[in-house]
Amino acid sequence: MKNITIGIIDYGMGNHASVEHSLRDIGFRVRVSKDPAQLDLVDALVLPGVGAFPAAMSALYELDLVTYIQEQARLQRPLIGICLGMQLLVSASFEHEYTVGLDLIPGEIIAFSDNDVHIGWNTLECSYKDPLLNPSDGESFYFNHSFVYQGPAEYQIAVARHLSVFTAAIRRGSVIGLQFHPEKSQLAGKVLLKNIIKELVDA
């Protein structure tokens, strides 16, 4: 595990420094890059993100990273999307305007009902169907979003509750999306990151 290297995809959206610190604290090696040649050298990819969906997709297109990320998913390389990065993994989003996403996991990103926002620490409820996140079942994680995943239940591996039940994590093979910020969820977040990266890389 000490030799696992994580590649953070740097596409200019948001703060990847926190993710980098968190991963290094756990004990992983980290590369931050937008260069596919560099990202090819790592064991797992992380796609972070803060901001709006259309701007993020534009940034990925401008850096010619869309096809690269899609290809890596097809090759079964572990890929973890965090917050906006999770939303980018799905088919499309309705944030501001209809925008096609990376389409690695079927589903869409829609606004919370009543224009609501979901900010703060909430409890993760893991699905019995997929044991990946089970060690973190019942732990609290930090969420900060106003749009949410809507898609087939088979891809939902964890939910949380805010007015109603919503999707907190999705998975399709080696591609994982986390709606919350494990890197800002103190020890619980680091434990979760450690577990899922170890599991995905060892698989």
């Binding site: 703060n15 004990g27 803060v50 901001g51 909430n122 930090y142 900060n144 103190q186 450690k194």
Partner: protein
């Protein structure tokens, strides 16, 4: 269940963390990064850093401070306020390590920038800071740069009612820094009851916190001076409150994490 939050506030003036009293008197506390590191270690739910002299001096955000905070590798969400003048400033603040922005001067100067920040970053990233007091004519919004009070403008009302921001920091600015002095009438009279509030200013004991948290529109309580008077104050507050609405106090140790690495 979404928990209510206890936010640690670090007020920065002339590069130093200060105790602030009623927006007019300041006493030095030390290096901001040391206080922020403490709040991170003590398990704050969020940390709010407000640099109160950046807009006054038109120097823009304090990127030097943000760089220092970035080097701490915080595991706690960071809210930054101070000197944000444009969308570019806001984007750079987020890229420098903040998770959310808080704006005050911009609410008086240029609401279109606030709107654009929401579009670019998502409204969940934007908090409006409203220092309030009660005058003869009802609630008054304080402009700390001009030291004047006014009613909330129609334009600002529109921004809030249109949901272009996610939360409001409702500060009892007159009582800020003084123990057990937050005037809860501010909350009762506050005209926007649907938007989540962060209350701040003169909140120093558990009884006050419990009263505030009992209101459904209060999402968080922010505390500044009173968290710095003793070690582990955040865990102590949470322990004493023993409330299911708050995240349990965390006594973070890396041992359990590192053991398997």
């Amino acid at each position: 269940m979404l928990k209510k939050r206890l936010i640690g506030v670090v007020t920065v003036k002339n590069g130093w963390a200060v105790q602030s009293f009623g927006y007019r008197k300041y006493l030095p506390l030390g290096k901001p990064e040391c206080l922020v590191e403490n709040f991170d270690r003590w398990g704050a739910d969020e940390i709010l850093v407000q640099v109160i002299d950046r807009s006054l001096t038109e120097r823009g955000p304090d990127f030097e401070l943000l760089e220092k905070l970035g080097r701490l590798g915080l595991g706690t969400p960071l809210i930054y306020g101070g000197g944000i003048r444009s969308v570019e400033d806001g984007m750079k603040v987020i890229q420098s390590g903040a998770d959310r922005l808080i704006v005050d001067a911009l609410l008086h100067d240029d609401l279109s920038v606030v709107n654009s920040l929401g579009v670019r970053l998502g409204k969940q990233a934007i908090i409006a800071s409203l220092p309030m007091s009660i005058g003869a004519d009802g609630l008054e919004l304080y402009n700390y740069r001009t030291k004047s009070k006014s009613h909330i403008s129609e334009a600002l009302t529109n921004v809030i009612e249109q949901g272009l921001i996610s939360e409001i920091l409702l500060t009892d600015w007159k009582n800020e820094g003084y123990p057990v002095s937050f005037d809860k009438t501010l909350v009762e009279l506050f005209p926007f009851q649907k938007i989540p509030l962060i209350t701040f200013g003169g909140i120093s004991n558990v009884k006050q916190m419990k009263t505030l948290f009992a209101r459904s529109n209060i999402a968080a309580v922010a505390v500044g001076n009173f968290l710095n008077y003793r070690e582990h104050s955040i865990q102590e507050f949470k322990d004493t409150m023993a409330s299911a609405t708050l995240r349990s106090p965390s006594y973070a140790t890396e041992n359990s994490l590192q053991a398997d690495v």
